[in-house]
């Protein structure tokens, strides 16, 4: 069953066609990767799904309902959580507070009970904390729990951002370059985590990634894009050996073009 479906989605900025008639679907429990050279429209597709952009044409469906009528802040309530390419954490807060923001969509108490901090608010806070602690446990963030983001190294921030997305208890995770800027070791950890997210938590993953080692070890299917157009879709091996994909990355020889 497909969880997320994009149908003939097109987005233009003035004369530039950023995403050109892209259609694909992501099945439930799948790890799906978007690859392609810079400017191929990968992150733009993420921003379309997050509803930061409106497509000019086409439809995006999640669990067979169109999400185009939803506002950006309603997307996480559907069960889609995301990370950002260049880390968008709340820098003046601790790791714990950042992760708790991920619980925002599960907050149920009204303004007045929050002001008097009624017992139901306290109960809810304990439950939020319990979920967040599970995430901390899963991602091994214990040493950083009470540290401020502004003082953390890049690799840890990346993981905190993944944790914040997990704290929303999503059905689907959008990871925008989860391994960019990570060391070889940290990338290896990321591979294990993505596998565990898929197998243990049963969360579907859609990711944009340049590291082909990571892509081929975790993803079930890969979609290659260039200049906003689909080039090839299939298993990591099929896509990597597809002639058009090779051409997009390495360029074509003059002889071939003629």
């Amino acid at each position: 069953m497909s969880l997320l479906t994009l149908e003939n989605v097109t987005l233009t900025f003035g004369g530039v066609v950023a995403v050109d008639n892209v259609s694909f679907h992501v099945g439930e429990g799948e790890v799906f990767a978007l690859v392609g050279p810079n400017g191929a429209g990968k992150s733009t597709i993420f921003n379309l799904i997050s509803r930061f952009y409106n497509p000019v044409k086409g439809d995006i469906r999640f669990e067979s309902n169109s999400i185009l009528k939803r506002r950006a802040d309603q997307i996480p309530t559907l069960g889609i959580a995301r990370t950002f390419q260049n880390i968008e954490l709340f820098e003046q807060s601790t790791v714990l507070q950042n992760l708790l923001v991920g619980r925002q969509i599960h907050a149920r108490n009204g303004l007045f009970s929050q002001m008097i901090f009624s017992p139901s608010v306290r109960d809810e806070e304990r439950r939020h904390r319990a979920v967040v602690e599970e995430v901390i446990d899963f991602l091994e963030l214990q040493p950083y729990r009470d540290k401020y983001i502004a003082g953390l190294p890049y690799g840890v921030r990346k993981i905190v951002e993944l944790g914040r997305a997990l704290a929303t208890e999503p059905k689907m995770l959008l990871l925008d370059e989860p391994a960019s800027g990570l060391s070889v070791e940290e990338t290896q950890d990321m591979i294990f985590w993505i596998e565990d997210i898929k197998k243990q938590m049963g969360i579907t993953v859609l990711m944009v990634e340049h590291d082909m080692n990571l892509v081929s070890s975790v993803s079930d299917r890969v979609l290659a894009l260039a200049d906003g157009k689909e080039l090839a879709i299939g298993t990591p091996k099929e896509v990597q050996s597809h002639p058009e994909v090779i051409a997009a990355y390495l360029g074509t020889s003059i002889a071939e073009e003629q």
Partner: protein, 365 residues
């Protein structure tokens, strides 16, 4: 150095981190409650003034310090709270109803008025709120049948459950009234900060785009923040009107808006302590200048010297000093001093230096 051993999640949820912290805050509470027996009536009046400033400061801090939205129009909402309260009192509404209602009216009106301008960012939002401030001054003059126009209004005598409170006759009672309101506001503010809404405010301040991706409705949350901020400032305005006794449109001019903003910058943006520290500076500064002027002119035998504008000058100098040397305000400096002694002798100079932040996601709006 103190090591904390946390046994339950409540350790992070509770208002006080540990027993010693609770002790010091309770000691401070005892001190402020006992203040009327320790100092004379004149200084109790000044302390009341500081408390009113602190309430207004907390109101603005919700918006500027925690939600990250600039406002230069809060004098307008102080005016609204003040006039609403006094107009209701004049028409025979008892104080215990009129006062909270004045805050509520200010909050609701504030949230509604600011809805259309909430899409503006940074300096543009500041300009729009400044316009509200300017318009309100004119509106007060035009709405003469209610507000008394240029000649203003006199605060009527009022009582709480039969106990009459007057700034001059019973300064201690007025002090306790201001203290009670300040404590209630403080409690609600602290509670909000440890609840989901407070975290949503801080999320909005630090990264709007990712707050949105985490399910925070930006327009709604900003409007709520404006509403709470205006309601608190409205309460402060109502107290100010009763404290001043007589007021007109000039009481709530743009200078007041700017003073409010400068107060929380000097105190330290983003902390409740900052509102109180700033209020102490701004509340006592005029008295401090007056007293030191007397002392100086007496000791040098100069007679009474009056330098026009000295107050604004000194105030501006303090402000520039803070922006240049301690942008995190008095509270920021206090945290550094405290850390120095807690970690002694391991404090390093670069400890509070902000690490250069990494590139933010390409802004989408």
């Amino acid at each position: 150095m103190r090591y904390m051993f946390k046994r339950s999640y409540d350790a992070d949820i509770n208002l006080f981190k540990h027993k010693a912290q609770m002790f010091w805050y309770l000691a401070l509470l005892v001190l402020v409650v006992a203040l009327p027996w320790l100092i004379d009536d004149f200084f109790i009046g000044e302390a009341t003034n500081v408390l009113i400033w602190a309430i207004a400061g907390m109101g603005l801090m919700v918006l500027v310090g925690h939600t990250g939205q600039a406002s230069l129009g809060h004098a307008a909402f102080m005016a609204l709270g003040c006039y609403a309260n006094v107009i209701m009192l004049q028409r025979g509404v008892p104080f215990v109803i009129a006062f909270p209602l004045a805050g509520l009216i200010t909050g609701v009106v504030g949230a509604i008025i600011t809805l259309p301008i909430l899409r503006l960012q940074g300096i543009y939002l500041a300009i729009a709120t400044l316009a509200i401030s300017v318009l309100t001054e004119d509106f007060i003059i035009i709405a003469e049948p209610w507000t008394g126009g240029v000649s203003g209004l006199m605060a009527p005598a009022f009582d709480i459950f039969g106990i009459s409170i007057n700034r001059y006759v019973t300064p201690d009672l007025f002090y306790f009234l201001a203290l009670g309101v300040a404590l209630l506001v403080l409690g609600a503010y602290r509670n909000l900060l440890r609840a989901p809404l407070g975290r949503a405010f801080v999320a909005l301040r630090d990264s709007e785009i990712s707050a949105q991706a985490m399910g925070v409705n930006i327009t709604k949350t900003k409007a709520i923040s404006f509403g709470i901020s205006c309601a608190i400032v409205g309460l402060a305005g109502a107290l100010l009107g009763l404290y001043a006794g007589a007021f007109n449109h000039e009481t709530f001019n743009i200078v007041l808006s700017i003073q409010l903003l400068l107060m929380i910058v000097i105190g330290g943006l983003g902390s409740i302590h900052g509102a109180f520290f700033g209020a102490i500076v701004i509340g006592f500064l005029p008295q401090f200048i007056a007293i030191s002027r007397d002392v100086i002119s007496e000791s040098f035998g100069l007679g009474s010297v009056f330098i026009p504008g000295i107050e604004s000058g000194i105030f501006a100098a303090i402000l520039i000093g803070f922006i240049l040397f301690e942008p995190s305000g008095i509270y920021g400096r206090w945290v550094k001093i405290r850390t120095y002694f807690e970690l002694f002798p391991f404090y390093r100079k670069g400890m509070f230096k902000r690490q250069k932040s990494f590139l933010k996601t390409e802004r989408m709006k």
